[in-house]
Amino acid sequence: MTAKIVIGLDGTDTGERALAFAKDLASKLDACELLAIYVIEWSPFTFQTAEENEQRHKRREEEIALATTRIVDPAVQALRDAGFNATGLVRHGDVAETLNRLAVENGGTQIIVGRASSDGFAKRIFGSSTQNLVMHADVPVTVVG
């Protein structure tokens, strides 16, 4: 069976470390696919003005384009340059939930993420996306420090 490693990118150094770890792991496996995912944090239960709603579709396209060109495409390209079979995805949603869902949908065998990249008050109360993922994931999760 081919292993499929899902990497959660977040556009920061910790995401980069997750990517490096995944690369290292993949190089030790015979057959391995890599799926790099960037999730744009978004909730359907927020309050917006009518004008924001009107613009929302356009903004979403812009957000996806930006995340693709700035974060996911360079990561995928780097993996391919290193000789790996790699693809990328950009989605909106709750980071932990979406990473897990996409991993399951795409047949991912494990998820690799960086540790919480933010620190502060909110994290103390709500926990980080990484924490949530570790607690609820349906596939094994590796957290890279």
């Binding site: 359907p44 917006q48 003005t49 004008e51 924001e52 009107e54 579709h57 356009k58 979403r60 909106h92």
Partner: protein
């Protein structure tokens, strides 16, 4: 809706302010503006608010209630049959996770609600109960329940016939469904009616959605900090609104959009606390509501008086049939326009059946209305046109006193809530007005800026002067929107029925199913 009718406005304003606003800024000019304006617009206002011959029942109220009843029957009590489905849609059970990032049903509903929840729920209800007695609440709830079907009809059409532009932005509302829907059905006159609707919508936005709000916000602020010139409030409000709608300072709108729902929850929460503390009186209060609904319990006009007040305030509060909500709801991401119709029917429920009823219960339970201990009937004031209250309050002041009798500091929170509600209504209506404006004059930076500047100027005018006739006129303009909108809905409702049948059969067959989340 936040437009309470003229009686409510005058009562609230008089009760809250030590001296009339008009006295502050060049009274001569204000008086002349009032006079000229009243003469020009008087016939229009009188026509809209005219009572049926020999009664005091305004025909426009009947127009809205009859329409709501017809839609309810025509769609087979859709508001009850699809209530659970509406909740599931709002929860996102039927939303494709791959559409995440688009406008959700919840967001469209919340946006529309922030445009309707406000002064109507706080001041309008107090006026209804103050004049029509607790029995008005019963008729208000009934009108709210019926109004759910009107919302369902107009919001489904709003999404179905919206314009989607190549850049991904959308524009929708009655002007679009009237012109496109009539064309589809081969009925002439759609273009003209759409233009007529847009004209009324612009006038309603500048008046009820703007000047009235500015005026009431100033009344609230000056009621707490003391009297000061209204134009100061006007300039501040206009500045903030300008920053949001012209300057694109999203953060202010974002803060408001988050604070307003919080205020709404706080308001309902406070009402619930008062009800829980006085739980032994809830049965009695409902008894008063039911008894009053059919006997009037001594109010002016008897049970008919209660009925008129209840129907009137519900219509004024939830805007069902006015067409404004169809503009707000049309930005949702869905392949099925009717799903937004289902979601929108929750709006009159939340606005009227829940929030308005809370206000009414608190007023009744706090015993602000004076009852004759011998007859059990309500005691009328000296003029004989309203129920006597403990401190002679009416409108916002009555609601404030009712909450204040249990929670002493709540009137301050209420004042803040009124100001914020006023602000969020202005932002909502600036959008509704803008959509009507661009429908008439085309979309483009110059055209949009012109409207936005006019809108801000009207805020200052609204806050600075007590322009009774202007406000009467703007209320009338909002209800004129309902005349055009409902007239057209009668022609277009069969298109909604086609959608309803198609959706219902696909829902039953399992073609439309929940997504695993």
């Amino acid at each position: 809706m936040k437009n309470i009718a003229k009686t409510g406005l005058l009562a609230a304003t008089t009760a809250l302010m030590a001296s009339p606003l008009a006295a502050q800024d060049a009274p001569g000019i204000d008086e002349r503006v009032n006079e000229v304006f009243a003469n020009v617009t008087g016939p229009f206002v009188s026509a809209i608010f005219a009572p049926f011959p020999g009664t005091e029942f305004p025909w426009i109220v009947m127009w809205l209630v009859v329409a709501a009843t017809i839609f309810t029957i025509y769609f087979g009590f859709v508001q009850f049959r699809y209530f659970k489905h509406a909740i599931q849609l709002v929860k996102g059970d039927y939303s494709d996770p791959d559409d995440a990032g688009e406008v959700s049903h919840f967001q469209a509903l919340a946006t529309a609600l922030s445009g309707t929840v406000g002064l109507g729920n706080i001041a309008g209800v107090a006026v209804a109960v103050g004049i029509g007695g607790p029995g008005a609440t019963f008729w208000m709830i009934l009108a709210g329940l019926l109004g759910m079907a009107s919302k369902f009809t107009e919001c489904t059409l709003g999404v179905k016939y919206r314009n989607e532009y190549p850049d991904g932005t959308v524009s929708g509302g009655p002007m679009y469904y009237i012109s496109k829907g009539f064309k589809e059905l081969g009925i002439p006159g759609g273009g003209f009616l759409a233009i007529l609707f847009s004209v009324f919508c612009i006038l309603g936005a500048l008046g009820g959605g703007n000047m009235f709000q500015a005026n009431q916000a100033h009344a609230q602020i000056s009621g707490i900090v003391g009297d000061y010139p209204g134009w100061i409030t006007g300039i501040v409000f206009a500045g903030v609104v300008f920053a949001v709608i012209v300057g694109g300072i999203k953060s202010i709108a974002n803060v408001t959009e988050k604070v307003v729902p919080f205020m709404g929850i706080l308001y309902v929460g406070a009402a619930l606390i008062i009800l829980v503390v006085n739980y032994d009186m809830i049965g009695w209060a409902f008894g008063q509501i039911f008894a009053g609904a059919f006997t009037g319990l001594g109010v002016a006009g008897g049970f008919v008086g209660a009925l008129i007040q209840g129907f009137k305030r519900a219509a004024f509060s939830n805007e069902a049939g006015v067409g404004s909500a169809a503009i707000a709801h049309s930005a949702v991401k869905t392949k099925e326009p009717i799903t937004e119709g289902f979601v929108s029917l929750l709006e009159p429920l939340i606005d009227t059946v829940v929030i308005c009823t809370m206000t009414a219960l608190v007023i009744v339970i706090s015993q602000q209305l004076i009852i004759d201990p011998e007859t059990g009937n309500y005691v009328l004031n000296e003029a004989g046109n309203a129920i006597s209250t403990v401190d002679g309050n009416s409108g916002v002041a009555l609601t404030s006193a009712a909450f204040g009798s249990s929670i002493s500091w709540f009137p301050y929170v209420l004042a803040l809530a009124v100001v914020l509600f006023a602000f969020s209504t202005m932002i909502s209506w600036s959008y509704y007005g803008l959509k009507a404006w661009t429908y008439l004059f085309g979309e483009g930076k110059g055209s949009e800026l012109t409207f936005k500047i006019i809108f801000c100027v009207f805020i200052v005018i609204g806050a600075a002067a007590s322009l009774g006739p202007v406000i009467d006129f703007s209320d009338a303009a909002i209800f004129a929107m309902a005349v055009v909108n409902i007239f057209c809905l009668y022609f277009l409702m069969k298109l909604v029925k086609v959608e309803l049948f198609s959706y219902a059969s696909r829902l039953q067959s399992g073609e439309i199913r929940k997504f695993a989340h």
